[in-house]
């Protein structure tokens, strides 16, 4: 796995952005950028390029599910894997995210091991698709 891939972390809570960033660092990924909602994430993504988006769902402004849909609807961004990391844990929400094309779903609170495991699965699929 290329540890230099560029990852966008999207969450309205600065604590959670830092947690995800630090856990990525622990796994050897240092090339990260941050955004605090879907709207600012799209601005960053269009400046691009990014190889992975890790996003929260519940954010003021554009929520993560709309960001996911916007990414899948934009030809230039559509192929970027998206990992949802969220406290939104209703069955219908997970189905909605899956139908919108999410690549992984981590429910908060999560452990470092769970995040590492889910990232590994996303990377496996990127590797398999490449």
């Amino acid at each position: 796995m290329d540890k230099n891939i560029r990852i966008l972390i999207v969450d309205d809570f600065s604590t959670m952005r830092r947690i995800v960033k630090n856990l990525l660092n622990d796994l050897g990924f240092f090339n990260t950028a941050e955004a605090d909602d879907g709207g600012s994430a799209l601005v960053e993504l269009r400046k691009g390029p990014f190889d992975l988006v890790i996003t929260d769902w519940n954010m003021p402004g554009m929520p993560g599910i709309d960001l996911l849909k916007a990414i899948r609807a934009d030809a230039a961004l559509a192929k970027i894997p998206v990992l949802m990391v969220t406290a939104e844990a209703k069955r219908e929400q997970i189905i909605e995210a899956a139908q919108a094309g999410v690549n992984g779903y981590v429910i908060k609170p999560f452990t470092a091991a769970t995040l590492g495991d889910k990232l590994g699965k996303v990377f496996e699929r990127i590797g398999a698709a490449a």
């Binding site: 969450d11 809570f13 600065s14 939104e88 209703k90 997970i94 189905i95 999560f110 995040l115």
Partner: protein, 216 residues
């Protein structure tokens, strides 16, 4: 005609009179007056009597709302000085402050965890296998400590939902008895599930099963 409770034929006091059988005489008098006005084609007297009946009937609801607002303000520790409608916004500010101090505290903990990682990195390469295993175990626990700081995000989301509710109550009371629409909370999701209040949250295992059934 003067206010119904004050002219209550049964002689009950004003506050007790609302809606109790004791002032049915007053209600009967008011209805008779309304009927007489209608028969006499006296539009203004008819309206005045009907309005008075409506006012009399809705007074307990209005009083209940005012009482609810005061109880909410007291529950949040606000002052109930007359004309001071600022304690609900103040309650929101208190809750926002809780989010802020827990955020600061979380960042401080994350600072210390990062320091520990740097300190571990300054140790000379471990010659003994057990020692490097211990260092790896400490690193793994530091990662879990980092993830555990996520409580700040979860509690913060719950507190912000309560803030939105209190703000909606505050705005709703500003136009009481005029706007009978239910309070609307702006939301982009449900937030963390609370045991005993919300339907139980999907666990990561449930989510994994669901995701694999969806081909993920």
């Amino acid at each position: 005609m003067s206010a119904l409770p004050a002219t209550d034929a049964a002689g009950t006091s004003g506050t007790e009179a609302y809606g109790v059988p004791g002032d049915r005489h007053a209600a009967i008098a008011c209805l008779h007056a309304a009927l007489e006005a209608l028969e006499a084609d006296d539009e203004s007297a008819w309206r005045a009597n009907v309005d008075e009946l409506i006012h009399w009937r809705t007074q307990p609801l209005v009083q209940g709302l005012v009482k609810l607002a005061r109880e909410l303000e007291q529950a949040f520790g606000g002052d109930i000085a007359p004309g001071n409608g600022g304690s609900l916004p103040e309650a929101c500010a208190r809750l926002e402050h809780v989010v802020h101090i827990s955020e600061q505290s979380s960042h401080h903990t994350l600072d210390l965890i990062e320091d520990c990682r740097v300190l571990l990195g300054t140790l000379p390469d471990a010659a003994v296998e057990e020692q490097s295993a211990t260092i790896a175990a400490i690193r793994s626990r530091l990662s879990e400590m980092t993830a555990a700081q996520g409580y700040q995000d979860l509690t913060g989301q719950i507190i912000r939902r309560v803030v939105a509710l209190v703000q909606a109550v505050h705005v709703g009371l500003g136009g009481y008895a005029v706007d009978d629409q239910p309070l609307q909370l702006p939301s982009h999701g449900h937030g963390p599930s609370l045991a005993g209040i919300d339907t139980p949250a999907t666990t990561q295992d449930d989510a994994n099963r669901l995701l694999s059934s969806l081909g993920l």
